[in-house]
Amino acid sequence: MAATTHTLRAKHRRSRLRTLAFLSPWLIGFTVFFAYPMISTVYFSFMHYDGFKPPTWSGTKNWTYVFESYPFFWPALRNTLWLVVIMVTLRVLFGLGIGMLITKIKTGTGIFRTLFYLPYLAPPVAATMAFAFLLNPGTGPVNSLLEKIGIPAPGWFNDPSWSKPALTMLALWGVGDLMVIFMAALLDVPREQYEAAELDGATPWQRFRYVTLPNISPIIMFAVVTGVIGAMQYYTQPLVAGKVASGVIQGAGTAFEPGYPEHSTLTLPQLVYNLGFQRFDYGSACVVALVLFALSMAFTALLMRRRGGLIQAGD
């Protein structure tokens, strides 16, 4: 009896060691690249630190500075709200539309699917560079075509009221990920439900409203939440677009004021860079980082809520 509990305990210990061994890369990674810097970010948010003189306690000064005096914080948050409401919505609708279109296309499906998907793969810097060229007011093909058919050509990335719509076009161009997800979801809708609806004389709109939509609503939810998280973390495209359109491109520590034109492309992650690496105000940069963290985690929690079944937690 004693011997069996002993071996059982030994077995338990072995299995725990085994688990630890398999998890060890991640345990180290989690500690060094997540837990430690998170704690450190909180710490620095209460310190005055410029990277040269040793950090000194500054209480909530950084926090009040970011919320009350830092000129970029509220514009960036407003832009993020714009992106969440307009860009994410349009992208989900467009992705759903393209997904539905591809399920209806019967001839050359493979080619269409590949062509629709490819832009999603374009590296963000290259894609932004391409759109900065396509939409440039001077020689860009888009404005040339618009003027040829007599439509007034907007300034796109050079006009504060058109820069976000231009970024939205770029985001719609790279809708391939949503197309694939929606396509898979649409093909999963049971055929019998459509047949039953047809027997009942449902119009196409009714079939979409009462059969398609209820079946794919978890996927729509997934697309919206991941889209919102993406919008809050939007960095490379607005930054590169602003830099290229403004004509100010150099290495580190330049005078480029982020958000060109007129703060219209500022997003929260850019503020971390601006405060930390251009103004050397590490404390305030950490405040913005924590705001970004809180927003990201709030929406990630929404994503993980088991009831929604968006991400399968346990088994």
Binding site: F22, W26, A126, P141, P218, I249, L292, L303, I311
Partner: protein, 301 residues
């Protein structure tokens, strides 16, 4: 189309009756729908491909023509591509990108596989917590922890001006890869693992001999994603490599290329094509693994 019309034509032949007016309207409706759907498809295809086409055409224009509003090159200047390659630094950026993407991908796979396996198949206390932390790390923008991480790499290890601060962390598991691979490994039936155990395989042997061969598509997917991530990364090189052009990657260097060739859209577009093309080529060769990966990224139908 051939298939559809064949199907529609079949019915009256079988019945050996002339098409009733109702059937004829149905046939006409199907044809009209086919035309409508495929016209929309062509329109969408133009929206998705024309940017590539214009970029490519501009990359072949002469310097003076690139300053005009022309859409099609008068003379096809293939030498633009030679000029891009001759730009000081361009080949170094290629080399750095390949090191970052190649080494980073290899390290990611090696370090993420055992973690994903443990999360998918071992039963232990704190497993759900671990998974939730992995998902949280996956959703964490790099900017959140960049200040302490930069201070760590630059001030304590003196590694700024290199890509090592971006490569070394990948040796300790990448959250997205762990999550994606875990989703994949969940689909492997436990019977295989039990059978391996009965045959006397230890955990490591089971992983290497039984699980890995079955997990190839999942591993291919995470390798591809990681490769693309490194290729596309802009923020990482901006933070750690910006001070040293010798450590720049293509994605980072491309922007400075535009700065150096201020108005030369033709050369900038040629450089853009050279950053785009490898990704598209890799996709053509690995399409299946890629699409599988996209559908695996956490969507539960």
């Amino acid at each position: 189309m051939a298939q559809d019309t064949a199907q529609l034509l079949e019915r009256p032949v079988e019945l050996k009756l002339p098409a009733t007016p109702a059937e004829r309207t149905a046939r006409r409706k199907a044809l009209l729908e086919w035309i409508a759907v495929h016209s929309l498809g062509v329109a969408a295809a133009l929206f998705f491909t024309l940017p590539f086409v214009f970029v490519f055409l501009t990359s072949l224009m002469s310097d003076s023509q690139a300053l005009s509003r022309d859409l099609i090159p008068h003379t096809w200047e293939w030498s633009n591509y030679r000029k891009v390659f001759d730009t000081p630094g361009f080949l170094t950026w290629w080399k750095n990108t390949l090191i970052y993407a190649g080494l980073g991908t290899a390290l990611t796979v090696v370090s993420s596989v055992p973690v994903a396996y443990a999360l998918a198949k071992f039963r232990f206390r704190g497993r759900n917590l671990t998974l939730m932390l992995v998902i949280s790390m996956m959703m964490l923008p790099p900017q959140v922890v960049v200040i302490p991480m930069y201070l760590f790499w630059a001030k304590q290890l003196d590694l700024s001006g290199t890509l090592w601060p971006l490569i070394i962390p990948l040796a300790f598991g990448d959250a997205f890869s762990i999550f994606l691979l875990r989703q994949f490994l969940m689909t492997i039936p436990n019977e295989y693992l039990d059978a391996a155990k009965v045959d006397g395989c230890g955990d490591l042997r089971t992983l290497l001999r039984v699980v890995l061969p079955m997990a190839k598509p999942g591993i291919a997917a995470i390798a591809l994603f990681q490769f693309f991530n490194a290729w596309n990364d802009y923020f990482g090189p901006q933070i750690y490599a910006s001070e040293n052009p010798g450590a720049w990657t293509l994605s980072y260097g491309l922007e400075s290329f535009k700065g150096a060739h201020h108005t030369d859209w033709n050369l900038t577009m040629a450089a853009t094509v050279l950053v785009l093309a490898p990704v598209l080529l890799v996709f053509f060769f690995a399409q299946k693994a890629f699409v599988e990966g996209v559908t695996l990224t956490g969507v539960k139908g």
